[in-house]
Symmetry: C2
Subunit: 445 residues, 2 copies
């Protein structure tokens, strides 16, 4: 019986594999066969399967595409605009007054630039939380990335906030060839009322949508929440019925041991963006606590106005270094465990543990080829350590989503970076104007 040629064959690569109980490990000489956007097989190199496209990958690593578990992708527009200022000024005096200026066209340009940065740094899926989400969805469709998109709302928007978020989700879920999935995206427990959080929970269950929300962003927020309402931010969410749904929590820095019983039974994940935490002089996500509780912690970049980059690989290296530093324990989190956070656990954190984050039959074909022949990644004693501590996203040679090549030999195929960057640069005077005195919101967490 003859079979149609495969869509893509990656040949003779060193594959980053994962199995329950064994964790991340590597196998040399592996062929990965892709059919219909899905990994059909992975196994030792044999006779070449007929394929529309074949990539000879000897000496390169094939690994799952990275997942950005919390982003505000168009904020690349404000990369570097608010440096060396304290957090309240950062929000109230700079970023939120500037966000008032954004048109849908600005947001689409920002989303395209961020897409280029993400593809070029090995991200294949991003979970976005922002305004103007239709523009981001259009950019996602065009860029070839996969995304979990949620339209941000505050209680100051009234009931229209959730309604618009729900309408966005219904409009876009399953679009872009199935690459777009949707979430409800209330901003945070300190900007969304208990009633609106409860409405969100009900809507999530009724429409089978996950919820993506900022919560317990700092230990101070947790303390303020306890002082104000007698409950941690996580307990506030629980009382609103949120953990009946799938929940993605951004940051979770202020998660405390008393939150563990709530979290460990729930369908919940946390996105951690450690570079920005260092830069803002804050604590970091309590990874040891969450690992012990069985809560998947995935990697994230947050927005580039605080993180300055949208590079999950950089987040991975920072995550590893910062965890050892805050635990004051060189032995905490092996490089293989860090790679597990970057792949399988990131997929679980966004509720996609079944079909993303692994190179296994039936998973979506979201793949990277990594070239370790450069001087910083030689010699190789321990491939996991090479990937986490020596390599960086610039060593990603090829980025593939749903079996489609979005970057080959570091050449981006779906975004015109010079054109987008020039269009953004022209707009900067208007984007950064604060003379109007308005703001998206007032920060008082």
């Amino acid at each position: 019986m003859s079979e149609a040629p495969a869509d893509l064959l990656i040949r003779d690569a060193t594959a980053l594999l994962w199995e329950e109980g064994r964790g991340v490990h590597f196998a040399v000489g592996q062929d990965v066969v892709v059919r219909g956007g899905v990994i059909a097989s992975v196994g030792p190199t044999g006779p070449a399967v007929p394929a529309v496209e074949a990539i000879e990958a000897a000496g390169r690593v094939v690994m799952p595409g990275l997942i950005n578990c919390h982003a505000h992708s168009p904020m690349v527009l404000f990369r570097g605009v608010a440096e060396d200022v304290a957090e309240e000024r950062w929000f109230n005096d700079v970023i939120w007054p500037m966000e008032v200026n954004l048109t849908d066209e600005d947001i689409e340009l920002g989303a395209r630039l961020a897409a280029a940065e993400m593809i070029s740094t090995g991200t294949t899926t991003f979970a976005d939380h922002y305004f103007g989400m239709d523009a981001i969805a259009r950019s996602t469709d065009e860029s070839g990335l996969r995304a979990l998109l949620g339209a941000t709302y505050f209680s100051t928007d009234g009931p229209a906030g959730l309604e618009r978020g729900l309408a966005f989700a219904e409009r876009w879920r399953g679009r872009a060839g199935g690459r777009i999935t949707a979430a409800l995206a209330p901003h945070a427990p300190y900007t969304v009322s208990d009633d609106d959080l409860a409405s969100t929970s009900r809507a999530a269950l009724e429409h089978d949508l996950p919820i993506h929300i900022h919560a317990a962003e700092s230990r101070v927020q947790t303390k303020h929440s306890i002082d104000r309402v007698g409950a941690t931010p996580i307990e506030v969410l629980r009382r609103a019925g949120m953990f009946e749904a799938q929940v993605l929590i951004a940051h979770g820095i202020g998660i405390v041991p008393e939150d563990v019983p709530t979290l460990s039974g729930a369908r919940v994940g946390v996105g951690s963006a450690p570079k920005g935490y260092l830069k803002h002089g804050t604590d970091t996500t309590p990874v040891r606590l969450l690992r012990a509780a069985g809560v998947p912690v995935g990697l994230a970049t947050d927005g580039a106005a605080s993180n300055n980059t949208s590079d999950v690989w950089e987040s991975m290296t920072a995550f590893a270094l910062v965890q050892k530093a805050v635990e004051r324990d060189q032995a905490f989190l092996s490089a293989a465990e860090v790679l597990e956070h970057a792949t399988v656990l990131s997929a679980r954190a966004i509720g996609r543990g079944d079909d993303l984050g692994r190179i296994a039959p039936g998973c979506r074909a979201d793949l990277l080829l990594v070239d370790l022949s450069g001087p910083r990644t030689q010699p190789i004693h321990d491939l996991a350590a090479t990937l986490v501590y020596s390599a960086r996203s610039d060593d990603v040679d090829t980025t593939i989503v749903d079996g489609k090549v979005l970057m080959r030999g570091r050449k981006l195929l779906t975004v015109d970076v010079p054109g987008v960057a020039a269009a953004i640069t022209e707009r900067l005077p208007r984007l950064t104007d604060r003379s109007h005195g308005r703001s998206i919101q007032d920060y008082d967490a």
Copy 2:
């Protein structure tokens, strides 16, 4: 009067400049003219000066080459070999037993690979502290880098240690067209006796050599030193007469306020390698204290067995992030101040404030061209922030030492990386053999 053509003209670049009192700033549309390895002029783009080589640099940044203030460059051989283990095991069980295996040829191969990594990441000068220093000097001559080289010795070597270090310095200082300068390199106050430290101080003064030494590597070391000999490591060095000479201190994490009177009057600098400090779960260099004391803190990578890379640009970003984190102050160290640490202060830290680290007439022509057109570095609101927080060493397009181009368009011109990496990979079984049970030294700081 006609003048001979310049050796190199960099045309229409955005220049990173520095002046006392003003600090780091940028000027667009600048021409840099190089004659005889020295910057002859920098100023607004005018009629093109005749030059043997001209580089059109419109849209690119020209900045001083980075200075690695503390390295063990051949330790790239052991990159990733000792991961996720505590510090004493790292030294005693893994690294020091493996270092016994190194031949001069191994060291030369390691030095070449490190040279390739340094050139490709924008380092133009490195301060090296290791065994087999003649091999490193040969590699430096060949690679085109500039280096301050010191042959490591312990008191367990007897008087031969200092003698060999001095002989190395006399043999190599001023060689490689003046690109090699030499230092005396006693290992540390906990491995070199007070008498040998005093002999080193006398030899340094007599032969006009700087001293490069590990000291106050951690707060625990400082405490141990006080417990054992009633003095901080810095005070131990002072009593040995060391601060009569120019001194480069590696790490200095355990420098305490009582050391300030000694340091602030001395010709002394500190090299800080923050990535490894995170990874090893230790404290970091007390930059606020040292800045207030007027002690220049430069950037460093330490050895790649702990740091996993030899990339000063990465150290710069980590330095900025870690300082804000440990000070818990987003406003501490502006991006422009961080760039001052990476350039002028790094030059001063190694005793070369007069002729390195700045783009100014009379300084050596050690220069980088940086391409910020990629997606992670657009748009540009604040060029200093773009360089420190968004760019990375992969955005260095061209590396120049003494007016000679060592990397152009990211192509390395002086090191054959595939050949060196293959030769090293062949040697790994022998290099990592620990069955002999010997060690370079016993770590008990």
